[in-house]
């Protein structure tokens, strides 16, 4: 979640203001619904016996890292984020909960990571699409490989746009996809989707990871599900918080955006609202040396 201003335009800036408390509330909520939708924090890891040191990259307010720490007191968890505000907030969450196996550090994921070689058993990152430009990924993955022990695991989770019966939600996601193209963050060759999920396996293989595999998660965001409110909360925050980014890119105006936002809220409340949101987790292992 970079806020750095000494970087070239469009380099690593987060699409919402990382200093804003609303962004923190959104990300805390988003972590919760995503973790549940994915079946847990480390759902695809059948055996956690070799996992003692875990790193979460671009941890934001720390939702995923805190949840791993709570579930697994035997695992030491480290979260890093470039935003000093996010890290200060995450540290306060740790203090308030009394956990003693999780720490948070300010660190820029686009620069060399300040960890020794082979420091971690597992490196996790979710929704980096909002943080990194395509050109930032190879260097980060090389760093991840360096700080993982031989046989260590990297897991990356990224989304594509949801499919839904809400015309307003669909229109707002089209705007999101366009914003990524315009700001040169998109992996898509035709600008029709985010494209990041399709890039993950090639990126991991190019970085030298082996046993690269994937797992899809189809999150049901429909009104009829018990998690419907969680997704409504997520979009209620998210769409509003990325509005300044869209306005800055000239993709919309206040006059156009507000009715669309209200329409989305209304359509998502309707009993017949249906939607699926796809996430993909791609996992790889550092070769045994």
């Amino acid at each position: 979640m970079s806020t750095s201003s000494d970087r070239p335009e469009n380099r690593t800036r987060f699409v919402a203001d990382p200093e804003s408390s609303e962004t923190m509330a959104w990300l805390l909520n988003a972590d919760k619904v995503l973790t549940k939708g994915m079946g847990g924090t480390l759902a695809e890891q059948a055996d956690l016996s070799g996992i003692k040191r875990v790193l979460d990259i671009a941890s934001g307010p720390g939702g995923w890292a805190l949840e791993v720490a709570r579930e697994h007191p035997e695992i030491d968890v480290t979260g890093i984020d470039i935003s000093d505000s996010m890290i200060r907030f995450a540290k306060a969450l740790v203090t308030s909960r009394g956990y003693n196996n999780v720490r948070f550090l300010v660190m820029d994921a686009t620069q060399p990571l300040q960890f020794e070689d082979a420091s971690f058993d597992l490196v996790n990152a979710r929704t980096l699409f909002g943080v990194l430009a395509p050109r930032d990924w190879p260097r980060l993955l090389a760093e991840c490989k360096r700080i993982l022990r031989p046989g260590g695991i990297i897991r990356l989770t990224e989304p594509e746009a949801p499919l839904s019966t809400s015309p307003a939600l669909n229109a707002l996601w089209e705007m999101a996809i366009k914003s990524f193209v315009v700001s040169k963050r998109s992996f898509s060759r035709d600008g029709r989707h985010l494209g990041v999920t399709l890039a993950l396996k090639p990126l991991l293989r190019e970085a030298g990871f082996e046993h690269v595999s994937h797992q899809g998660h189809v999150l049901d965001i429909s009104s009829a599900t018990e998690d419907a409110e969680g997704y409504r909360v997520n979009f209620r925050y998210a769409i509003n918080l990325v509005k300044p980014f869209y306005l800055k890119l000239g993709l919309t105006t206040e006059e156009e955006f507000e009715p669309l936002y209200n329409q989305m809220l209304a359509e998502m409340l309707a009993e017949d609202f249906s939607g699926y949101w796809m996430y993909v987790t791609v996992r790889g292992e550092k070769p045994q040396e």
Partner: protein
């Protein structure tokens, strides 16, 4: 007679099959493991010993003493299983909630301030997911012939399992029959430490709830509503947790507009129908909000989600007020 060892005490506790199952569930261990601990065949890891203290709050003091005798190196956190700093609301939280208060337009303020505050409170009050519901019950506007406040609307809340994560999905009107209603009427925090406790305080216990606190949201002697916190654990609301709830209730004053705080004499709560009866009325609550917003938009006079929700709550209160006494 007191137990002479922690194993003996644990053995007595799990002699009750229901309690044994609860301990097993909350610790996340195999029942056989529990029995092997009692028999001395296996020594639990330190973290499991500390977790035992958390899941057995009623026996905590005796168990902690026996554990410290058996495991001199075991760190048993002071202050009721919670580090000192976890008994206070961090300054960073005040700063964050204040930031959201100043940065959010008035029409979004209740939702934004209350959502962040509830997330922070729930994380601090139930860090190990023993089971908690944290809801806000806000005063409905004065209505009826007497133009008094007749009920509180449960319109924001979150939970940890077994409760749903998002309690806005379960809207409800609370009246004089509820702990929340009582707290608002008397104007101070009230606590019920267990179902067995004999008190004159009204309470309509809900599923999973074994102890509860209600704390008014006050500003200058006027009341906007109430925080209601329920736990699956009897005796969970130790004094430091009650103080924390008071602090979070203070933070929630920022969620409410000045005109939403009412003098005590304006509050004359009625009896509201049971949640089962109300459920039939609230089943289409969200659809009604959606319809109002879409209709207003078609008429070219759009309304916000907060405005639509307020209208639907008021309609539902009117519909339910007529039923209240006969269905109590």
């Amino acid at each position: 007679m007191g137990a002479s060892s922690w194993r003996e005490l644990l053995g007595r506790i799990i002699a009750d099959p229901q309690e044994k199952q609860r301990v097993v569930n909350e610790l996340g261990v195999n029942p056989i493991t529990l029995i092997r601990w009692v028999k001395g065949e296996v020594v639990p890891r330190d973290e499991n010993l500390r977790r035992l203290l958390e899941v057995l709050p009623a026996q905590r003091e005796a168990l902690a003493q026996l554990l410290m005798e058996a495991f001199p190196t075991l760190v048993v956190p002071s202050g009721q299983d919670t580090p000192e700093e976890a008994t206070r609301v961090p300054a960073e939280f005040y700063s964050r909630v204040l930031n959201i208060y100043v940065a959010t337009p008035p029409e979004r303020r209740f939702w934004s301030v209350s959502d962040l505050t509830i997330q922070l409170a729930l994380g601090q009050l139930d860090p190990n997911y023993l089971g908690m519901a944290f809801v806000i019950a806000q005063c409905m506007p004065p209505a009826g012939a007497t133009h008094k406040i007749r009920s509180l609307r449960q319109n924001a809340g979150r939970g940890t399992p077994p409760w749903n994560a998002y309690l806005e999905q379960e809207p409800l009107l609370l009246g004089a029959e509820s702990l929340a209603g009582y707290a608002v009427t008397v104007g101070h925090l009230v606590v019920q430490q267990s179902r067995a406790e004999q008190t004159h305080v009204p309470a309509r216990w809900v599923e999973w709830e074994e102890s509860a606190v209600a704390c008014p949201i006050f500003l200058g002697g006027r009341i906007a509503g109430c925080v209601v916190v329920s736990s699956t654990q009897p005796g969970y609301f130790l004094p430091f947790r009650q103080r924390l709830i008071e602090k979070y209730a203070e933070l929630l004053t920022l969620a409410c507009r000045t005109e939403e705080f009412y003098a005590l004499e304006d509050i004359e709560l009625k009896l509201m129908p049971s949640p089962e009866v109300q459920k039939a009325y609230f089943v289409h609550y969200r659809q009604r909000v959606s319809d109002l917003m879409q209709e207003a938009s078609r008429r070219q006079s759009p309304i916000t989600i907060a405005q639509a929700e307020r209208i639907v709550w008021e309609d539902l209160e009117t519909e339910l007020s007529g039923l209240a006494v006969s269905h109590y």
